[in-house]
Structures are given as structure tokens and as C-alpha cells.
């Protein structure tokens, strides 16, 4: 189990973005849109959460997509087809609440586009009109464009540097849709860097557009046992791994969440420096 069957490098330039198709039949069968896995790369590895970008229940595979931003993702990126990931637990978290809302806008920023993909797909299948906004820093950093096209009725792209689509942020596009094009939106689902999610929520809040944000906190077990993943939502402490990962974005305390994500920066640096000097061992 957990053998890597396909490897696709979306972006060579550092930090590299890679996608794996992994043999995990039981997880593929149980997975619903919005859920994630926790994996351990090797014997001494830590438990890291990654969202499921796609699955093929029949083939028994799941796709995970990650950017090499820390020691564990760097080690993961060194694995090749035929290698095995040490452990994968999942699917975890609550599935996205999918029903016919009407018009659903799926916003994905950076590698957040990958986890938005199964949600867009499920929303479309449920009879919603799905418009997706994909944001990237630059044209060559845009991932999953084709997949999102297939999963949506319409896609719109923004790039920070203007090399593709609208020159600007996803929030600019969303604002234009609401205020200029006056598209009636019933639901927004957003996944991406916390700061982006925060601003997307700021855009939708005054218009009272329901917004789900999928949070990516630090996690350890992913089963509700440790509370490492806690966030404040509507003034209450919630555990992202079991109560989430999706919450009403207008209720999330993003400032606190961002602060909590900084906890291990020093350690992460130490680990990365060490990793760059070493060769990772494979399973």
C-alpha cells in the first residue's frame, strides 16, 4: 500500500510543486470532497496533513499535491514512482456540505487550487452552477487549470504579475463579480493561504454571501486527540481536524490562526538546513 504510481512535477522552480497518484484503495473508496489525509514520509517522519486533490475509487488511488516548503515535503518530493509513503491515514475531517445551493464560486489560491478541485466537482455534480476563480503569483505557477475547467462551468484566472488572466488577486475578481457583474452568488468556498482566505471572507461578508473556508492548521494526530489544530470560530475553540476543516469563514479568527501557524518556524528552519545536507532514506 501507499505506493506512488504516478509523479507529476507542476513546477520545477523552488519551492517545487509535485503531485503524486498513490495506491490507497480504502481511502479512495471512503473519501468525500473536502477531506484530507495525514501522512508520514519515512521512519522518523512527522505527521503532516495534506488535502486530497483527486481520487479514483475504482482504481483505488488518491492524488496528493504539495509544495516543498518544509523538511517533510522536501523529503516527500524526493520519492519517485515505485517508492512507498510510510503511512497514510484518512480520509479525515468532515466532508464539505454539498447540496444544490444555486451558484457556487470556488476560489483556490496557489496550491489551494488542488483541494478546491474535488469540491468544485462535487458541487457541479449536485446541480450547482460552479464558477471557479484560480489565483497564482504568475502564469507558470498556475496548477490544475484543465482539471478545474472540467470541474466547473466557468473558470477565471488571476495572477499577481499579470502574466495570465486578470492582473491582481482573487479578491479583485470576486469583488468585480459581485459588485460590477452583479452575479448572484449563493455560496463561496475558498482554500488558499490564510491571508487570502481572510480577505475573501472580508469581500463576501458585507454582501452576506455564505463563505466556507477550509483551514490548514498545524496538526499532530488528526483524530481530535491533541488539540494542536485548534482555532477560534465564532468565539469558540474548535478542532480543525474533526470539526473542520471547513468553517463559516465569517466566524473564523484568522489572525489567531496565522499566529498559531508560526509556532515552529525556527525548528522548521533547522530541519530544512539539515535536510539539504542529507540524503533522505526511502521505504
Amino acid at each position: 500500500m501507499y505506493e506512488i504510481l504516478k509523479k507529476k512535477v507542476w513546477q520545477e522552480e523552488k519551492p517545487r510543486i509535485t503531485e503524486f497518484e498513490v495506491d490507497a484503495p480504502e481511502i479512495a473508496r471512503a473519501h468525500r470532497a473536502g477531506q484530507f489525509v495525514i501522512l508520514i514520509v519515512d521512519e522518523n517522519g512527522e505527521r503532516i496533513p495534506l488535502t486530497i486533490a483527486d481520487k479514483d475509487a475504482e482504481k483505488g488511488t488518491i492524488s496528493i499535491l504539495f509544495q516543498e516548503v518544509g523538511k517533510s515535503t522536501m523529503c516527500l518530493g524526493k520519492l519517485d514512482v515505485g517508492d512507498r509513503i510510510h503511512h497514510i491515514t484518512g480520509p479525515l475531517g468532515k466532508p464539505t456540505h454539498v447540496e444544490k445551493f444555486g451558484t457556487v464560486v470556488c476560489v483556490g489560491g496557489g496550491i489551494g487550487i488542488a483541494p478546491v478541485h474535488p469540491i468544485a466537482k462535487a458541487m457541479k455534480e449536485a446541480g450547482n452552477k460552479v464558477i471557479s476563480i484560480l489565483g497564482a503569483r504568475s502564469k507558470d505557477l498556475l496548477i490544475y487549470e484543465e482539471e478545474m475547467k472540467a470541474a466547473s462551468h466557468e473558470i477565471r484566472v488571476t495572477t499577481d504579475d499579470g502574466t495570465y488572466g486578470r492582473h491582481g488577486f482573487v479578491t479583485d475578481e470576486l469583488k468585480a463579480m459581485i459588485e460590477e457583474e452583479k452575479i448572484p452568488i449563493d455560496l463561496v468556498v475558498v482554500i488558499g493561504p490564510p491571508i487570502m482566505m481572510k480577505f475573501v471572507c472580508k469581500v463576501t461578508e458585507p454582501h452576506k454571501i455564505k463563505t466556507f473556508a477550509s483551514l490548514n492548521t498545524i496538526m499532530v494526530d488528526g483524530t481530535g486527540m491533541c488539540g494542536a489544530c485548534r482555532v477560534t470560530v465564532g468565539g469558540k475553540t474548535r478542532f480543525v481536524c474533526v470539526d473542520g476543516p471547513e468553517f463559516d469563514g465569517h466566524q473564523v479568527d484568522f489572525e489567531e490562526m496565522m499566529m498559531r501557524q508560526q509556532q515552529y518556524l525556527t525548528e522548521e528552519k533547522i530541519a530544512v538546513e539539515r535536510c539539504e545536507k542529507q540524503t533522505c532514506h526511502k521505504n
Partner: protein, 491 residues
């Protein structure tokens, strides 16, 4: 042998047999051990065990056995020690207790067997726990335990959810009955609290791993990384995967927080997180292991149970200059094992008893800087029989702190309850069972035991529940009989 010499050398003046004192167990020097994760206690050597065993007067009606939640034949195994038949001593224990190496180390003997020991009336009780550990360690040191002969396969399939002491006991008992047993465990290692919660210095992980290996050799299948309720539901296990019965031993893993200001600051952890990082993920050996843990200088642990003691002693070992226990009642009321409290004291843990935290203070970057507390005094006994702590008005004070670890208790994880609608839960979310002997839940063919039924308790109680459940499952497989909870049992 040295033991004889000792007796010969004893003063002959008194007509009566001299009273042999309870044998102390050798331990690492407190100053040394407060900086390493090796075992604190070192176990009896042969002579000490023999001397200690000789103190047992082999009561005809042994009270100690009544004090043991699983009724180990205590005089029986001590007699075997006296006869130096250690292998037999282990056998006697294992008739009722699958994990003596664990229980010898972590059971609260002073509230159980040793509390009842008749010697305790006039002098100190026999050190039953230490003797239990001695024989279990003897077995481990002298090669592998022989595999018992298993009966022919019955063709029945049992699913065990959770690989804690409760689940492991059920698995061990039922594999010996010829059934196929599969254990589903959420984490990547088996052992439950024994592996993620209780630290290495108190319970070496090799002991737990050895027991799990042994079960594997007997044919128990372990499916790790399987969160039941997520990857499979109980319903699917029974209806689609063909399991004839299910035992749920998923523990009380959900940590409580206090709901005081500042609880989500950086540097505030649940004891579960702090201990899991360190024990399961080996963060103390970062960066050789990838999971990080901060080495804080001033650490407060809130609570007075075993979990609090384990956390505070871990903080010391990670290099804290000041490691505090902040507990709202007095030392007498602490639920931790006496031995752990004493060990913590010797290692230099500072106890702030009769102290209740009211607020965690932090800086602009969101890191903990202090803990504001209130002084308490003890009033009338409450429902638990312990004297209720009452705040002393105007007694607020602040302790400088970099980290606060919350060890005030846990409750049931809701994952299984949420995904098994016909499983009856108590008001507090624990699984309701018919009674402790049958362990039958409201769902046909589903049994439960351990912390998920009782709330956070002890290793030995979880194992006792496992033993009862295994017997009840065996009976169910033979008769197919079920009970009718409140007259509206499952179809």
C-alpha cells in the same frame, strides 16, 4: 546465596523473626534522571525480589486479590517467586493479566492490592507491583514467551477498534479461542495511551512493542492508520466486511481545555499534544526525528493526575529551569499515583497547590508570558468526596511562564458515536453498556470497554473490561443471544 547470608547476618537477639522491611526499588539518581528519558526505576535484582517475596505471609483468604481489579492470584505468583520458579510466576499472572510488565509499572497499587495487604496494617504492605514487574521483566530477559497452541480456526471474525490496553486484551483472548481478530487503530503505532501518553521514562516503549509483536505472532492482524468512523464505519465492518462481532476500545482521547482567556496562545498545549509529540513522535530527539517540540524554560502544568505528572517531568527532561504543577486542591487530593508525585518532587518539580489558573498572559507575537492564578482554600467535600477548593478573594498573582500545559482531563472522542447512529451514548458521550460484565452495547454484536465506557480510568480497568468483553463475545458467538436495552433493542 546472598539472600541466605543476609538472614544469617541478621541480629539473633530477638526471639521473634525480625521484620524485614519493604524492599526499596533501585532508581536512577533524581538529578541525573531529570535530564534523560531512560527508565526512572530500575527494577528488583533477584535477591531483592526474593527478600520482598519472603515478606508475604500467604494469607488463606488473601485480601490483596480482592483489591485487584482483575483478581490476579497474588499469593500464588509470590509463592512461585519464593520457589524461584519465575516462569511459573509469570504464568500465574498471565492467567488474568496479559500485560504484567505494563501493570507492574503503572498500576496504582497503593489504592488496589497493596492497600488491602494485611501487612499494611502494622508495617508496610508487600511490594506486589514491584514483584509483578520483576517476573515480567525476567520473562522478557529470558527469551521469548512460548507461543501457546491455538485451537482450530472457528471461522468467526472479530473487529477490535483501538489498540489500547482494552483492545489488546480482547484481541489476545479471542485469538486464543481460534477466531480471526483484526485490530483497527487510528494512529500509526499500537498501544493507545501506553504508546502515545505514558512517557518512556515510566514505561519503555519496547515493552509495549514486544506485547504487540507477540499478538501479531499469535495471528492478530493490525490495521494501523484506520480511523473507524472515517475509513470504515462500524456498520460497514459488520454488514460489508463480514465481522461477526465488534469490540470498541477507543479510549477517552478528547482533551479538555479550561475555557480561560489566552488558551490559544502559542506555548499552550493539551497534555495529549505535548506527550504525543514526545512519546509517539519522539520529538525529544529532534532533529533526528522530524516532529518538533519547544524546549521551554518556565513551564506550568495544570492538573494533579498522572497525566500532569508525566507532562511536568517531560518538561524538566526537555530542559526547563522551572517546572511547576499548578493544582487547585492539595497534595492529598491529587489523583496521581503516590510514586509519581514523589518522583516528581525528587526531580525538582515545584508544586503550586491550592492554586487555580484564571488567565494566560501573552505578548504581541502571541506567545505565552505568564499565568495569572488565584489562591484557593479547601471547603466541604464535594461529590467526588474530595474537599472542594474555594477561591480566596483578592489573592491573584502572576507566575512568569513560557508554556502552559493543560492536563485537566479528557472525554470521549465523538467520531464513532457520530457515525454509528444506533449506538447509545451516555449524556457525556461515553458508550452505554448493559453492565461491566457483559460489555454489550445497544447495537447487536457490538461490545465496548475501557475508557470509552468509564471515562478516563486506568490501564488495569481497561484490561479487565477487555477480559470481560472477550468472554461475553465468546458467549455471543456460541449462543447468538443478545439483550433488549429498555425493551427497544436492535432488530
Amino acid at each position: 546465596m546472598s539472600d541466605e547470608k543476609q538472614t544469617q547476618g541478621a541480629p539473633k537477639a530477638k526471639p521473634k523473626k525480625p521484620k524485614i522491611p519493604r524492599q526499596a526499588m533501585p532508581e536512577q539518581d533524581p538529578h541525573v534522571r531529570a535530564k534523560n528519558f531512560d527508565s526512572v526505576t530500575l527494577g528488583y535484582a533477584d535477591e531483592q525480589a526474593l527478600t520482598e517475596a519472603s515478606r508475604c505471609i500467604q494469607c488463606k483468604k488473601p485480601l490483596c486479590v480482592q483489591g485487584c481489579p482483575v483478581s490476579i492470584d497474588i499469593p500464588g505468583f509470590i509463592k512461585a517467586i519464593k520457589e524461584k520458579d519465575y516462569a511459573k510466576a509469570v504464568q500465574v499472572i498471565k492467567e488474568t493479566n496479559l500485560l504484567p510488565a505494563v501493570c507492574g509499572r503503572v498500576c496504582p497499587q497503593e489504592e488496589q492490592c497493596e492497600q488491602k495487604c494485611i501487612l499494611g496494617k502494622k508495617q508496610e504492605p508487600v511490594a506486589i507491583g514491584r514483584l509483578e514487574r520483576f517476573v515480567a521483566d525476567y520473562e522478557a530477559a529470558h527469551g521469548e514467551a512460548p507461543l501457546p497452541e491455538l485451537p482450530p480456526k472457528t471461522g468467526k471474525k472479530i473487529a477490535v477498534v483501538g489498540a489500547g490496553p482494552g483492545g489488546l486484551t480482547v484481541a489476545g483472548d479471542l485469538i486464543r479461542k481460534g477466531h480471526d481478530v483484526t485490530v483497527f487503530e487510528a494512529l500509526h503505532k499500537a498501544g493507545g495511551v501506553l504508546i502515545y501518553g505514558i512517557p518512556e521514562f515510566r514505561l519503555p516503549k519496547a515493552i509495549v512493542e514486544r506485547e504487540v509483536d507477540y499478538l501479531q505472532k499469535l495471528g492478530v492482524v493490525f490495521k494501523m492508520n484506520h480511523v473507524i468512523g472515517k475509513i470504515r464505519t462500524i456498520y460497514q465492518l459488520m454488514k460489508e466486511d463480514g465481522f461477526d462481532a465488534v469490540f470498541i476500545g477507543s479510549g477517552a482521547g478528547l482533551p479538555w481545555f479550561m475555557d480561560i482567556p489566552g488558551e490559544n496562545l502559542n506555548g499552550v498545549f493539551s497534555a495529549n499534544e505535548y506527550l504525543t509529540r514526545n512519546n509517539l513522535m519522539k520529538a525529544f530527539d529532534f532533529p533526528n526525528y522530524d516532529t518538533p517540540i519547544k524546549r521551554f524554560k518556565n513551564v506550568a502544568v495544570i492538573g494533579g493526575g498522572n497525566v500532569a505528572m508525566d507532562s511536568v517531568r517531560t518538561a524538566l527532561r526537555l530542559g526547563a529551569d522551572n517546572a511547576y504543577i499548578v493544582y487547585r486542591r492539595g497534595r492529598e487530593e491529587m489523583p496521581a499515583r503516590t510514586e509519581e508525585i514523589e518522583h516528581a518532587e525528587h526531580e525538582g518539580v515545584q508544586f503550586k497547590n491550592l492554586t487555580a489558573p484564571v488567565r494566560i498572559l501573552g505578548n504581541e507575537d502571541g506567545w505565552v508570558t505568564g499565568l495569572e492564578c488565584l489562591k484557593m482554600e479547601l471547603g466541604e467535600p464535594d461529590a467526588s468526596g474530595r474537599r472542594r477548593p474555594i477561591p480566596i478573594e483578592g489573592s491573584e498573582f502572576v507566575l512568569d511562564m513560557d508554556a502552559v500545559i493543560i492536563a485537566i482531563g479528557t472525554s470521549a472522542n465523538p467520531l464513532i458515536g457520530q457515525t454509528t447512529p444506533d449506538l447509545k451514548l451516555t449524556r457525556r458521550g461515553y458508550i452505554e453498556v448493559e453492565n461491566e460484565t457483559t460489555c454489550r452495547t445497544s447495537k447487536n454484536g457490538v461490545f465496548a470497554g475501557g475508557d470509552i465506557v468509564t471515562g478516563a480510568a486506568t490501564v488495569i480497568l481497561a484490561m479487565g473490561a477487555g477480559r470481560n468483553a472477550a468472554n461475553a463475545i465468546q458467549e455471543y458467538l456460541e449462543t447468538g443471544e443478545w439483550w433488549t436495552p429498555n425493551g427497544d433493542g436492535e432488530k
